[in-house]
């Protein structure tokens, strides 16, 4: 972690996990790795906090899970998006963009819409 690391605001981790899972079923560690790779390691995640978020979304019906074998042949729990989760992702994504645009307009950032 460096001074350039960004701490995720509340709810953002759920959004990122949902987005990553659009690529297919993944276990928790793979989700974390995917987020960090896409964020070019600048998103500071306390890795364990992903799991309460995954469990909440599962209880909400946005994710489904099942145990399976990981790429290193370890037993791992795999999560996949449900139709309700895809719908939830669209809503969350839209809300995030509106928030981002609004914050960008206030800050006067020329590239706020791409945030």
């Amino acid at each position: 972690m460096t001074d350039r690391d960004v701490e995720l605001p509340p709810g953002a981790l759920e959004l990122l996990a949902l987005k990553v899972l659009t690529r297919g079923a993944m276990h928790g560690y793979a989700i974390v790795r995917a987020i960090q790779e896409r964020g070019e390691d600048s998103l500071r995640i306390e890795e364990g906090t992903l799991y309460p978020a995954l469990h909440r979304m599962e209880r909400r019906g946005w994710l489904a899970s099942e145990w399976g074998a990981s790429e290193s042949n370890r037993r791992a729990k795999f999560y996949r998006l449900t139709p309700a989760g895809r719908s939830g992702l669209r809503e969350q994504e839209s809300a995030w963009r509106r928030l981002s645009d609004a914050v960008g307009r206030v800050l006067g950032a020329p590239n706020a819409k791409r945030a």
Partner: protein, 377 residues
Amino acid sequence: MSTFLERFGIHARSPDPRPLSEIAADIDEELASHVDASAGALADEGLDVGSARAEALRRFGDYGRIRRECARTQMGERIVLQRIQVVLTVVLIAVVGLLFLSNRESQAHERAALDAEKQVMAALIARLDAQLAADADPTPAIDRRSAANAKTYSIGSGGYLNWDGQEMDLVSASGTWEEYFHEQDTSWRHGLKVVGKLAELPGTQGVEILTQIWGRLSVEHREQIMKPFVFDGGHPHAIEVLALGYGDEQTSVKERAVLYLYTYSWKDLWNGEGSGSAWFAENRERPVAEVLRESALLWAREMAGMAAQHEHLVDDYVGRFLEATESVRPETFAKAGVDLGPILEEAGVCALGPDRFADLSPKNQMLAERVLTWCKP
């Protein structure tokens, strides 16, 4: 983004039905799997096993807190539901307990009421049995009552008749009549029935017995007692019975006495204790027919005198005078052998035509016309 209900551990899906221990083991395995994978990746990058595991745990964060959060998410709902279940069970037990106690108390009341009713029924059945046995007995009822009374009262002396015709002294006879009245203290019909028979006793017996027991009789009966005496105008002791009612401390009884007294006095004896006492002092011992005749004559003379003195009758004054006749019962005069027509004629009232009362209010005119109808034979 949690919803409002999720704050309380309530989620869209039904709770995980597995045992809590199994769910907890799943969480442990999942979190451990992450740390193992992370440590393995770090080891692959060149860290020794111990350092890799330490770094993996550091990156994972507060393991204990995260484990608790996962458990709360997975099991919190069940815990909340279990707590609600426990609270509801306690409430239910309390309600059932209260209902049980309430029911037991209610049953105790019902048992007591039932016992009381049983006792009443037993008494009624016993009475009915006695009545049936008595009905089967060929001895006349009147004799049986006398036989029963003989246990308490001295029979055969004094000449006073008890309520079934047996002779005894005044006190004993009065006791039997009083007992008869008390059989149904609150029934005015019963009181009227008893006194109807009492009024038929010869001489002064009825009045003497009533004088003995008057104060101990119920109000319902005292209100009825005067009727057979005063409605039968020929009863020689009507005025003495009216005196008992007039002296009664119960207003409802005295009111009835005053109402009946209009026929005998042709006056309002309610207002002014003195007037009533004086009237009774003067008339109590006199024959009823004589009192009836004299009262009517005095009234008629005064009425005729007013008509003679005043060309126009004053409604207020004459009205009060006429109102005294409102409760006069002419049939009482007939039963007492007193012809009311000649009395009114003699005083000059019958000579006053209806036109003479034309100055009066409609009500007073009606009262005057009623009096004039008594002039006709």
